[in-house]
């Protein structure tokens, strides 16, 4: 079996529960991510999403299990894995541009100062920040602009793996939509491998190639891997008209609303618990009867 680009093998995290015992957040989490893939992970609070993220970033160590990227063990933080934190984590004493050049200069120490600035400015422009704005301090920027700077910093570093920890969690719905569009744009330009935590089902469907679903903690597991069978480029307004959209959405809602709790707390067997792959594609079903692939969509619109 060929190992995926990023493989997470039998990851388990336990914490002392304060009563002398141990508390298992998640157990034997095993999954892989291919190069260039955009994967979202969905689950209720407390299932250990952020812990998985910190382990992938190298900021925390799992109790047991390994993470391999390109066949090499992941240990400790590295410039190969960029992180966008929920609270932006911009350095408040630096301007937006300097926050990006800070990362770029660390990533490409051999570059000249001009090249670093040019590269950083280009990535800020990709997320819609140009002109005087980039010379402002984070405190003088809106929440949306700050997260744009943070995204620009992460993409400008061109890491092998980009980790996004609920990047839009603190933003209002309108801003979130705009930045989601910008994220897709930057991502499709760069072919970056992305792993993202989110609470928002629609956001996950819009952005991801694949959604990992986690059961509730403690002893959470990565239960399902749902493929998003909606072709790109996707657009927030037209995606809802795709026949697969509501089928996938209903499946996710049903999982998070009901099955995540039903499946929770079942102590896994000793073996790795790989998520079950779920593929929902209504068009494929009709394809077998109808040779014209686009036809069902047209009918749906006319109907």
């Amino acid at each position: 079996m060929v190992k995926p680009f990023l493989s997470i093998e039998q990851l388990t995290q336990t914490y002392p529960d304060g009563l002398g015992g141990e508390f298992t957040v998640f157990e034997n989490a095993t999954f892989g991510i291919e190069k260039g893939e955009f994967v979202c992970i969905l689950g209720h609070s407390g299932c250990g999403k952020s812990t998985i993220m910190n382990i992938l970033a190298g900021l925390a160590d799992p109790t047991s299990g390994v993470v391999k990227m390109d066949g090499a063990h992941v240990s400790g933080p590295s410039l190969d894995r960029g992180v966008v934190f929920q609270n932006y984590s911009l350095l408040p004493w630096l301007s937006a541009l300097k926050n990006v050049t800070f990362g770029v200069a660390a990533r490409f120490p051999q570059w000249s100062k001009d090249k670093v600035i040019e590269h950083s400015t280009a990535f800020l422009a990709k997320v819609g920040l140009t002109g005087d704005t980039i010379h402002r301090k984070p405190s003088q920027l809106s929440g949306g602009m700050r997260q744009r700077v943070s995204i620009a910093r992460a993409f400008a570093n061109e890491p092998k793996l980009l980790l996004l920890d609920e990047p839009f969690g603190a933003l209002d719905a309108l801003t979130r939509g705009t930045i989601q569009d910008e994220l897709i744009k930057v991502w499709s330009d760069t072919d970056q491998t992305v792993f993202m935590i989110t609470h928002d089902i629609d956001e996950a469907i819009l952005l991801a190639d694949r959604i990992l679903l986690m059961t509730n903690g403690p002893m959470a597991q990565v239960a399902e891997s749902v493929e998003i069978t909606i072709p790109r480029p996707r657009n927030r307004t037209s995606i809802v008209e795709h026949p697969n959209y509501y089928a996938i959405r209903n499946h996710l809602v049903q999982f998070l609303g009901q099955r995540s709790a039903e499946l929770a707390g079942q102590p896994g067997d000793a073996g790795p618990s790989s998520p079950e792959t779920v593929r929902i594609d209504l068009i494929e079903d009709t394809d077998s009867e109808d040779p014209e692939p686009a036809a069902p969509i047209l009918r749906a619109v006319e109907g």
Binding site: A57, L59, P77, V83, S89, P92, W93, F102, K137, N157
Partner: protein, 277 residues
């Protein structure tokens, strides 16, 4: 009046308070009687002698004009211009203060970053910190055997604590997120210290430095009264021995003005390193 800005109103009010204060001061001092007005009995009992009293502000102003128009004259060990005296004091304060900063800031970094160092050093800090700096003076004079260096040592020992404690506090309080940014960018320990922790903790560190310079300026006056020779503290004490209260009041004012200037320098520094989250 309505057209005046807030600052102008405040300035007018300040000047008014100053004038009224000086007026009350001037009027509350009883005038010396002229010899001709004295009765025979008063002359016999020595009433004609000039009495040592608190001088009126007009005399202090005259003294200030006289001293400030020639601040750097030097007419022997007991008669030097106010500029020279203040210069000596500032030199001692800055020397002791800089020595303290050189030790306190790196040590504060260590204490802030390592909880072992914090726990190990904290008892010493807590015991040494409340000691009045002047209490060190006899020991300093005995060990160092030099009054000048002892005064500098006293400044050193009093200004080290606020800087040390504030640096440690600022460094320990740097947000985990910013340290994580440094870690995910693979910055080394030294680079993290200078590019992330130092700027993040700078406002707290500078606040400590500002408190220290204030304390150092308070202590130098007392220290110089003890060690004597030169300096603004010695000047005050010397003029008191001369019963020249005009000079005493003038030098008290000068101590205040110089203290304010030192403090506002650090106020400026504080503004340059400040940031809003």
């Amino acid at each position: 009046m309505q057209t005046l800005t807030e600052n102008k109103k405040a300035a007018v009010l300040s000047i008014l308070i100053l004038l009224i204060g000086c007026l009350i001061w001037e009027m509350s001092i009883p005038a010396q009687k002229v010899a001709g007005e004295l009765t025979e009995y008063e002359m016999l009992t020595g009433g004609g002698q000039p009495k040592a009293g608190v001088p009126p502000p007009s005399q202090v102003l005259g003294k200030a004009w006289e001293q400030l128009s020639n601040p750097f004259y030097d007419a022997g060990p007991n008669d030097k211009g106010i500029g020279i005296q203040i210069g000596y004091s500032i030199y001692r304060v800055l020397t002791g203060y800089l020595l303290a900063a050189v030790i306190a800031i790196p040590l504060g970094f260590l204490i802030g970053m390592s909880s072992v160092a914090h726990k190990a050093l904290n008892p010493f800090i807590q015991v040494l910190r409340p000691i009045s700096p002047l209490a060190w003076m006899p020991l300093a004079l005995f060990i160092i055997q030099d009054s000048e260096a002892s005064a500098i040592f006293v400044i050193f020992i009093c200004s080290i604590w606020p800087m040390l404690i504030n640096t440690a506090f600022g460094v320990a309080g740097v947000r985990e997120d910013w340290v994580n940014v440094a870690r995910t960018h693979e910055l080394g320990a030294v680079k993290t210290a200078f590019t992330v922790i130092l700027p993040a903790a700078a406002p707290t560190i500078v606040t400590g430095m500002r408190i220290s310079i204030g304390i150092a300026w308070l202590v130098i006056v007392a220290a110089e009264m003890l060690v004597g020779g030169t300096g603004i503290g010695y000047y005050v004490w010397n003029e008191w021995n001369n019963l020249d209260l005009t000079s005493v009041i003038f030098s008290i004012l000068m101590i205040g003005v110089v203290g304010m200037l030192l403090d506002s320098m650090f106020g400026l520094l504080q503004r340059t390193v400040a940031y809003t989250e």
